[in-house]
Symmetry: C2
Subunit: 226 residues, 2 copies
């Protein structure tokens, strides 16, 4: 039974990768660079987008908002006057705990890709399964809030290992927590040595400029990395 | 394809429920009451257990610790001198984002059920899939940290809807957050009207006595609820 289960999972991931490549080809054709944006629930993804998107002057941004249910985050981002498409995983997708390539593909017709330089796909809040499913992105960015504790890289290693950038969020709370940033960074380097990381706060704006520059550099890439 | 997917999911849940009933029968035979303890990553489940378990005088407690990888939480709880069994979902279970009845069943031989009045199953940190898989528990308790935002019941309704008790944790952080407790409770009542809830802090001990009494009452139940 165990072997069957592994095979079923492998087949599903193979199928997912095939569709992810088709998504990627569509993004490349439109010269749209794509960020897969992931975190645990409540780490602050939407607040960080609210902060950084208005700073990306000259870059046409779009957002694909993934949630099990509801459109609260999409509603928040719509006020920034960027194209936002909501993708719910409960209607037709069985309440999945992650976005997969097929779900993203189903949303592509509603996105004006030719008018989007940078598409941010805000994934479902979850530190496990989103890391297993490529959706056609160029880069993966994850957020880890200092309220979550220093042990998270060791407990959810795949997520931390597959990202190009780790945003350590809510650093304005540090004075009020028993949280050791060095310990988090040590654990991070244990699972993904040297991965780029930034300390940020959506509330105070700390680190947002650095992150904006990083996103702008993603758009400036002539060739997308493999 | 959609219909096939739904059927596969339904079959998996049926199989899970059958095994969950077998687990429950074993727990009942040993007069062990079981709590399925769930939350997002970093909401503070282990810290809350470290606080409450020593308070449960006269009740023999055991813990089944679920994680994708590692045994950090089990190591923390072992210092409380209660039987702790670690269950990792990556070794042999494909890195699942939740515990299911079969995984719990595989751990039962390593638990001295006859010497345990209250078994706490600390689930994998995730607000989606753990809610779908019964493991044979009597009651479900979930933790939602005030650092996660007031919108969580609306975004992850199934988890909030299937619990008998919601612990609202890290309330010592309230003075440092823009968090509206009334708004959270309003959203909670929208998805699970009147569900029991407690405001707690593992750091200050606030609310821990109330939670201890609740757990003691679970043990005192003569008949387990359906």
């Amino acid at each position: 039974m165990h072997r069957t289960r592994v095979r079923v999972v492998e087949d599903a991931l193979d199928a997912n990768n095939t569709i992810a490549q088709a998504n990627r080809a569509d993004f490349d054709r439109a010269s749209t660079r794509v960020v897969n944006f992931m975190s645990a629930p409540g780490a602050g993804k939407t607040s960080l987008l609210e902060r950084v998107l208005p700073e990306l002057a000259g870059i046409r941004v779009g957002v694909l908002e993934g949630d099990v249910q509801g459109s609260m985050d999409a509603d928040r981002l719509a006020s920034l006057h960027v194209p936002v498409t909501q993708l719910n995983t409960d209607a037709g997708f069985g309440g999945e705990c992650h976005l997969d390539a097929n779900m993203v593909r189903s949303a592509l017709p509603s996105l004006p890709l030719d008018e989007i330089d940078l598409l941010v796909i805000e994934n479902v809040g979850n530190l496990v399964c989103p890391a297993e499913f490529r959706v056609g992105e160029d880069v993966r960015v994850m957020v880890c809030s200092v309220a979550e504790g220093e042990d998270k890289p060791l407990k959810y290693p795949l997520m931390f290992r597959t990202c190009e950038l780790v945003l350590i969020s809510k650093i304005d709370l540090l004075p009020h927590l028993e949280f050791d940033v060095d310990k988090l960074l040590y654990n991070l380097d244990a699972v993904h040595p040297g991965v780029e990381r930034m300390l940020v706060s959506a509330r105070t704006g700390e680190g947002i400029g650095e992150w904006r520059d990083w996103l702008a550099a993603v758009v400036d890439r002539v060739e997308a990395p493999a």
